[in-house]
Amino acid sequence: MTAPVDTIVIGAGVNGLTAAATLAKAGQRVLVLERGEAAGGQARNVEFAPGFRAGPLGLDAGWLPPPVARALGLRGMERTVPDLTVAVPAGPKEWLALSRDPSRAAEAIRRHSARDAEKWGAFAARVAKLSGFLEALYTIPPPDIDSSALADLLPLLGVARKLRGLGRADMVELLRTIPMSVQELLDDWFEGAALKAGVGAGGVRDIRQGPRSGGTAFVLLHHQVGAPAGAVGGRGFWTAGPDALITRLLEVARGSGVLIRSGAEVRQVVLRDDRSAGVVLASGEEIGSARVLSTADPARTLLGMVDPVWLDPEFRLAVSNIKFRGSSSKVLYALDALPELPGLPEPARSLLGTLSLTGTLDELERAADAAKYGAISDRLHIELQVPSLRWPELAPPGKHVMVAHLQWTPYQLRDRAWNEPGRAALGDGVTARISEVAPGFASRVRHREVLTPVDMEARYGLSEGAVTQGEMTLDQILFMRPVAGAARYATPIEGLYLGGAGSHPGSGIAGGPGWLAARQLLRDWHDRGAQG
């Protein structure tokens, strides 16, 4: 056996590699264990048809908090934000394409409503301001509300003020906005259905609720964190290539001495004398380590890898009550040619952004309705991207990769199962739906792969296939993420830490949880004299 390590990190996704690199840079010997065949987790692009690669990661690469990039010395992580970030159907063969530039977006909006066009700039500024507050919040550990509510909120306010020039009135506006439904928020501002649907889709991404549910205004702000003001869903993509973040993280981690083993699935966290002592792999191999930082989701870690006798039953109950509710699926398409979308303005540029196929908030709501009863709507909500336009290396010359992101396809179906026929039916439905706006689409499909929540669970070990590792709803963020009492990354088991998207600041904040968790672990390590 090789030299003992200070910390084992479970999972070599973005958060795992970020945590590992942070720990190694502080002088720890770190071993990362990855169950997949290579590092990268959901961020890894895999070949799903000969010559075609795609990653099932969400619609954007997320926001890499600048302090994380700085701390790890990640260079070359520039993003390209396409000019047209999102396009929505606004009638038969008619699309509303929103520019990242508020004044150009207003021009497009004016064709549908002059009133909306007038308000767009102010709305974009407001959203940027409020999501800017979240941005500040996402670079620090969650406030510890239990001990003294106000004493903790005030420094937060200070952080926000310094970083974003937010005043008390803005803070009040933020507090008023986050419990709202995204539909209420948008109804307060706009009248145009397509505009509201295009923006509102960001308020329901990867949750099971529809746009009329309270708290979806927060979800919208969450997905705007790090986007330029007015760029809807516009966090952009890595300019350096599809695998840029993972490649850089691997370089930095390896350069700092981190060891990475793939194909090494952790079956159990070993506990001795009430604290973690290492892990046992699926192969039976045992690896000792005083500290374990898991980026697997909280349920998988605390319920799946820890012997129940070590945890307080109430704490276990709280973990089992985490709402995962994976309800998003993907269809990866290998295409012989780009789809043709009649009426889509500047197709080559629009397709660099996202096409959101649902044109009204009511349609979004109806699609979500079915999921409440464990069914799949006849009218799926689909968002499309063509990654091969961003990075041609993902497909053979002249060919393309298209990724369809679908909601709401619940993990738990009431009257059918996610089996091969179910998967095929879903794929056929998606192809048919796309063909409505892109006639002849089906004939350009060379190959397709359907990834349901059940597949996401099997492939990535995500409970209920939830890419969020726990829905980003108001009751599951900040000091409640993943559960009260474990929000500061340390679990009730000494030496066991959580650092995946299931922890603050949650999903879509690339490396955020991993970095904050590693820093907490290091503080505790230094308190113990940085020994063993």
Partner: protein, 526 residues
């Protein structure tokens, strides 16, 4: 022109409470009510000869004990009769009951789920503790969180202090309660679906949300807040209907010297140089007073009683965003005899309590789905009571009155409310009831159907919202009705608000009226 110290616009129960407190402090106070009777949405009317109904609001919830004490309401006729049980008819022909006797209720619940019967005890204890912490907030003037004034900072500290005193575990439970849907919250505790549905029904009342919408859980607390007052139970009937409560408060106000004029519709509030100077009635009469208090809802108070031009633009804008979205209707039935429930035949004690049509969470959620797209619920949630069982004076001997609260009936019905749609809505309600009490149709000798539009037309409540504005998280406490103007003042000097559109709002509680009066007295150097 006659002079008063204060004029209250609107003789609803909150307006009457404000009037009583002002008069008690020696202010010459006048209440002006548009309708021929006081009470607003808390009125008793003889809709059919011999049959009296609490036409709109039908149960008393959380009437503040300090008001009962300060105004000596029992002396003026307050007499609350307890509403002790709830029966939920189930789809399988069985029922779920809950009774005044806690042991009986536990045994009944254990019949359906042993696990839930055990959980109910722990749940009740937790809710009790949280209600204890939250209840003082009902008696608090909301501080302005954006202000740096010492009184506001102290207020914020006091507000925060209530939560800190809970301790970590209960604070987290409270946080979940504030942010979760009632369905999700109850899922963590219970397994028996009709129990969860019935409990969560209290969270959807008066809102345009379904039981799976976040923000509906915290209303669960209200139930427990009533119980800890001790003086009376959470829910009950006033002898003589809810109108009798209004009359009781009116009597108290008069005993302190307040004048009350009915059939006196206020057309507008007179403003001169940014100050309220009195009111003008629809009749053309003008009455002067340095203080004018509106008991009307925020939209009427800020943008209809006064020229919106008198208000800062951002306040008018904020008021235009305040959500009403009336979602409930009411069906009042005059009955020749008692209904016979299939699940509990005969005239048992269950008819002295509430009958709740809430067989499952999916049932309630589907009722909401209909309303979201502009239809009334085909199979609505209904809360049914028979006041004549407890107060025989409400109906002729041997006959009965039945009050049915119905959700959802959207104010913005697609195509709009017509007489035909109203009757179709009434039919849906009776058909739903008939599934559980097939003999009901032949017992009906009179039927009054009230849509949100009817409620708006008669009571003046905008969009027929029974709480004078939705009780949603972003419309509570210092957000009610709008940030910066939650302390009962308005931007016009001398013009105040005291209705349920201010904190804490909702139900026959009187707290808004009382807090407004105390602020007015403080602000005018009493």
């Amino acid at each position: 022109m006659k002079r008063y110290d204060a004029i209250i616009v609107g003789g609803g129960h909150n307006g009457l409470v404000t009037a009583a407190y002002l008069a008690r402090a020696g202010r010459k106070t006048l209440v002006l009510e548009r309708r021929p009777l006081v009470g607003g949405a808390a009125v008793t009317e003889e809709v059919f000869p011999g049959f009296k109904f609490s036409v709109y609001s039908y149960v008393v919830s959380l009437l503040r004990p300090e008001i009962i004490r300060d105004l000596d309401l029992p002396r003026h006729g307050l007499q609350i009769l307890p509403l002790e049980s709830t029966v939920v008819p189930l789809d399988n022909g069985d029922y779920l009951g809950s009774w005044a006797d806690g042991d009986l209720t536990r045994r009944e619940l254990a019949r359906h789920s042993r696990k839930d019967a055990e959980a109910a005890t722990l749940f009740g204890r937790l809710m009790h503790h949280m209600a204890m912490a939250v209840k003082p907030i009902l008696a608090m003037v909301p501080p302005d969180p954006a202000s740096l004034a010492p009184s506001d900072l102290r207020g914020m500290l006091r507000f925060a202090g209530h939560f800190r005193s809970l301790g970590a575990e209960r604070f987290h439970a409270l946080y979940k309660l504030m942010t979760m849907s009632s369905a999700d919250y109850l899922d963590e505790w219970f397994e028996f679906d009709p129990l969860k549905a019935t409990k969560s029904a209290s969270g959807i009342i008066g809102t345009f949300l379904g039981p799976r919408s976040p923000g509906t859980a915290y209303v669960l607390l209200h139930h427990y807040m009533g119980e800890i007052d001790g003086a009376f139970r959470a829910w009950g009937f006033q002898k003589g209907g809810t109108g009798a409560i209004s009359e009781t408060i009116a009597r108290a106000a008069r005993s302190f010297g307040a004048e009350i004029r009915t059939d006196a519709a206020v057309e507008r509030v007179l403003v001169k140089g940014g100050r309220a100077t009195g009111v003008a009635l629809a009749s053309g009469e003008e009455i002067a007073a340095p203080i004018v208090v509106s008991g009307l809802d925020p939209r009427r108070t800020f943008t209809q009683l006064v020229d919106p031009g008198e208000m800062p633009g951002d306040v008018v804008e904020a008021i235009s965003r305040f959500k009403f979205r009336g979602s409930s209707g009411k069906v009042n039935l005059a009955l020749s005899r008692l209904p016979d429930l299939t699940c509990l035949p005969g005239a048992g004690p269950h008819l002295r309590g509430a009958i709740s049509i809430s067989p499952s969470l999916d049932y309630l959620e589907r009722a909401y789905d209909d309303a979201k797209y502009g239809e009334f619920s085909r199979n609505p949630y209904m809360d049914i009571v028979i006041p004549s069982m407890i107060d025989p004076g409400m109906a002729p001997p041997g006959k009965h009155v039945m009050s049915i609260f119905v959700q959802y009936a959207p104010y913005a019905l697609s195509g709009g409310w017509t007489d035909a749609r109203r009757e179709a809505f009434g039919d849906a309600v009776v058909n739903t009831l008939a599934r559980h009490a097939p003999d009901i149709r032949s017992a009906i000798i009179g039927r009054q159907v009230l849509t949100p539009l009817d409620i708006e037309r008669t009571t003046g409540l905008t969009e027929g919202n029974i709480f004078a504005g939705e009780l949603a998280l972003h419309q509570l406490f210092f957000f009610r009705p709008v940030p910066g103007w939650a302390k009962y003042r308005t931007p016009i000097k001398g013009y105040w608000q005291c209705g349920a559109g201010t904190h804490p709002g909702g139900g026959i509680m009187g707290a808004s009226g009382r807090l407004a009066a105390l602020e007015i007295l403080r602000g005018s150097g009493a």
